[in-house]
């Protein structure tokens, strides 16, 4: 019997899957991150691409992490996976996955969790797949790392995984090589591999950035459907606010290694509080707009070895004042579930 089919699945109307965009339910989170710090020792001194990040993801929900290049979002996801490349390492804080502390976990222990409880897909499916092996072999390899099953059962499970991600003719695709597949199909294979062991949390790092817009829509739909079927939680890392609007329940906006604002997705789009989030909303070209000039965030993201004192956004911020240059603003709740780290929020009153 195919492995995947033998397992119970949650239906779309399962009680743990509340309507999208609704306030987060009071369920024990699948993932709880507290004050996470990842440090790299470099010749120019220690840099911290992730510098005190706190997050939580409830079961069956999607957290969108938004930020520009260099904001630390990819390093955050590698920290969660225990895959920070040397000379970097997690130097502070805590990551609890299903109640279990991951910081300080032995590499062997982490390897058992990776793939089975927490899985990841990347932006570029071509470079994440091995070109000299069939996709079937690669899915079986991923499965065999976690399940002790006879070869035939492994093959059946791999085919079931391909079927689950709606790949047509999975029996035939099993024997094909990555170069024989289109970009969208390769991303489906990556998803099949990531989901084969039924992880509780999927980290998707820019999963649709390399894809065309019609293929992107297919993959986003598929992610939504798979989440409804399996009840997994998703962390979706992206720079595309449109994608966030379509799939996230909650959003964390990152800037220079820190989360500057966290809110339910509706509040991020209707009521952004941090000047950086406001600027992002204005810079995003929208088909819905008639206006032809975009709001601009001046300047660029500071490099991690030359961070400004105080709030890291202050040199680019139109609202910045003295206090912004002297101390980093502590995250404060501005509404239920809406946290912002800004001395000037709300900008109407304090700007």
């Amino acid at each position: 019997m195919p492995l995947a089919a033998a397992r119970p699945t949650l239906s779309a109307d399962h009680p743990t899957a509340p309507p999208r965009g609704a306030a987060a339910p009071d369920l024990a989170p699948i993932l709880e991150v507290r004050d996470l710090v990842t440090t790299f020792a470099t010749p120019r001194g220690a840099i911290r691409p992730v510098d005190g990040v706190s997050l939580s993801v409830p079961p069956g929900r999607t957290l969108g992490i938004v930020g520009e290049s260099g904001c630390g979002k990819s390093m955050l996801s590698l920290s969660l996976m225990g895959l920070v490349p040397a000379p970097g390492r997690v130097t502070g804080g805590s990551i609890r996955l299903e109640g279990r502390e991951l910081v300080g976990l032995a590499p062997g222990e982490f390897r058992r969790l990776r793939g089975s409880r927490i899985a990841m897909i990347f932006q570029e499916p071509m470079t994440s797949l091995n070109p000299v092996h069939t996709i079937g072999y690669q899915i079986v390899e991923a499965l065999a790392g976690h399940e002790r099953l006879p070869a035939r059962a492994l093959k059946e499970a791999a085919i079931a995984a391909l079927r689950q991600v709606r790949i047509p003719a999975p029996e035939r695709r099993f024997d094909e090589y990555p170069h024989q597949l289109s970009g969208g199909m390769r991303q489906r294979v990556m998803l099949a591999m990531a989901l084969a062991c039924r992880p509780a949390l999927l980290i998707a790092d820019e999963p649709t950035t390399a894809l065309d817009v019609t293929i992107q829509a297919q993959i986003l739909d598929l992610l939504r459907e798979l989440q409804a079927e399996t009840g997994m939680s998703i962390i979706l890392i992206t720079h595309d606010l449109g994608v966030v609007a379509q799939v996230a329940d909650e959003v964390a906006v990152m800037y220079a290694g820190r989360v500057v604002e966290r809110a339910p997705v509706a509040a991020i789009f209707d009521d952004p509080q941090h000047p950086y989030t406001i600027g992002l909303m204005g810079s995003m070209p929208r088909m819905e707009d008639e206006r032809d000039r975009l709001v601009v965030i001046g300047g660029t993201v500071p490099p991690p070895f030359a961070l400004p004192a105080g709030c890291r956004f202050n040199p680019r911020c139109p609202f910045a004042g003295e206090e912004c240059r002297s101390g980093y603003p502590p995250p404060a709740d501005i509404a239920p579930g809406h946290t912002v780290a800004c001395w000037k929020a709300p900008v109407e009153a304090n700007g």
């Binding site: 829509a217 595309d240 609007a245 032809d292 993201v301």
Partner: protein, 362 residues
């Protein structure tokens, strides 16, 4: 009608596909661009939109005469330049310049910015050392860089700044047309907005025409006067930007608009998405090339290829059923929340004040 600045007339580019090492023979051809006609007026922005492999970058290279067309004619300012050789093309090259997608790969890492910007003038023998240096400083100012940047090398700049250098280089010869091949696709959203605004300002100042190649429909909406949508080497619909976004008549244009994620969490519903992948340009489907993925395809679409035909003022579509397929509306409202609108206005006001303060300080 006035003479268009650039005119492509039934342009084709077929790349032969060979097989066999000893007995090399042609087994087919990739029809990258397969019969495209476009016109760009002076000072106008024509955007070419399509997915990977639709031939839009090949079209850009054809327009620039960087590659030889297999058939068709290219006219610049009314003159047929299709068969011009290198020396005849040289004066033309001053008139049309290009900005590439990848600001990392398109600047020579061994040259200082000053040399990069002066090189087009050197090649065309314009001015002397002093006047070129003055022009370099002028160009840096135009794209929002400072004169002290002239001595620096590309690796010292961020992606957005490098793209500004690429734009300055394209402006060096005072061209009339700039082909922009995905100029903001590699940039972050805040930087993208800076570059889009810069391109618009430069157009207003110098009356530039842009051939703007992009897969990003939202960016195109902010840039283009007219839009041509390409699919598998052919234009399937062309219209003024406003018309194309409000009343797309080709099913592929509708699908592209539907697939782009709406940046509004309140409008979140699974829209019908286009199934399947783009077919190979080596063996395009018979009849209408889009019929394999089209929800409205009928027997006629599988047999007879539709040509572009006029369906409204300046509006052409290549679909047998352009008049009868259901109208498509992407946007039910879609306006920004009032609170956000007010906050953006406040942001802009504060930013203007910040820029004014910085200018007086400097």
């Amino acid at each position: 009608m006035t003479v268009p600045l650039l005119e492509l007339d039934d342009v084709r580019k077929h790349y032969p596909v060979h097989r066999g090492l000893v007995l090399r023979r042609q087994v087919g051809a990739v029809r990258a661009v397969d019969g495209v006609s476009l016109r760009i007026a002076a000072g106008e922005t024509l955007a070419v939109v399509g997915e990977s492999g639709c031939g839009k970058s090949t079209l850009a290279r054809l327009a620039l005469r960087l590659i030889e067309p297999s058939a068709g004619a290219i006219r610049f300012d009314g003159r047929d330049v299709t068969h011009d050789g290198r020396s005849a093309l040289k004066p033309l090259r001053r008139q049309m310049q290009v900005i590439f997608q990848d600001p990392f790969a398109s600047l020579n890492p061994r040259m200082a910015v000053e040399e990069i910007l002066a090189e087009p003038m050197l090649v065309h023998g314009i001015g002397d050392a002093a006047s070129r240096a003055a022009r370099v400083r002028e160009l840096l100012g135009l794209v929002g860089l400072a004169s002290y940047h002239a001595d620096r090398f590309p690796h010292e700049f961020s992606g957005g700044q490098r793209q500004r250098i690429g734009i300055a280089r394209a402006l060096a010869l005072k061209p009339r047309l700039i082909v922009c091949d995905e100029p903001v696709s590699a940039l972050d959203v805040s930087i993208q907005a800076q570059v889009v605004n810069l391109l618009k300002d430069l157009q207003a100042e110098f009356g530039l025409a842009y051939l703007f190649i992009s897969h990003g429909l939202a960016v195109v909406k902010h840039m283009a006067d007219r839009v041509a949508v390409m699919y598998l080497g052919q234009v399937v619909e062309t219209a003024p930007a406003k018309v194309l976004y409000a009343q797309p008549r080709h099913p592929y244009t509708q699908a592209l608009l539907a697939a782009a994620p709406v940046p509004d969490p309140a409008q979140r519903h699974s829209r019908p998405t286009l199934g399947g992948d783009v077919p190979s340009p080596m063996t395009p489907p018979a009849g209408c090339r889009f019929h394999t993925r089209c929800g409205f395809a009928q027997a006629r679409c599988r047999e007879e290829a539709p040509g572009l035909r006029t369906i409204g003022p300046q509006h052409e579509a290549a679909c047998h059923f352009a008049e009868t397929i259901p109208a498509f509306a992407r946007f039910g409202g879609g306006a920004r929340h009032e609170r956000l609108q007010a906050r953006l206005a406040l942001y802009e006001q504060k930013r203007a004040a910040m820029i004014a303060a910085e200018t007086t300080a400097a």
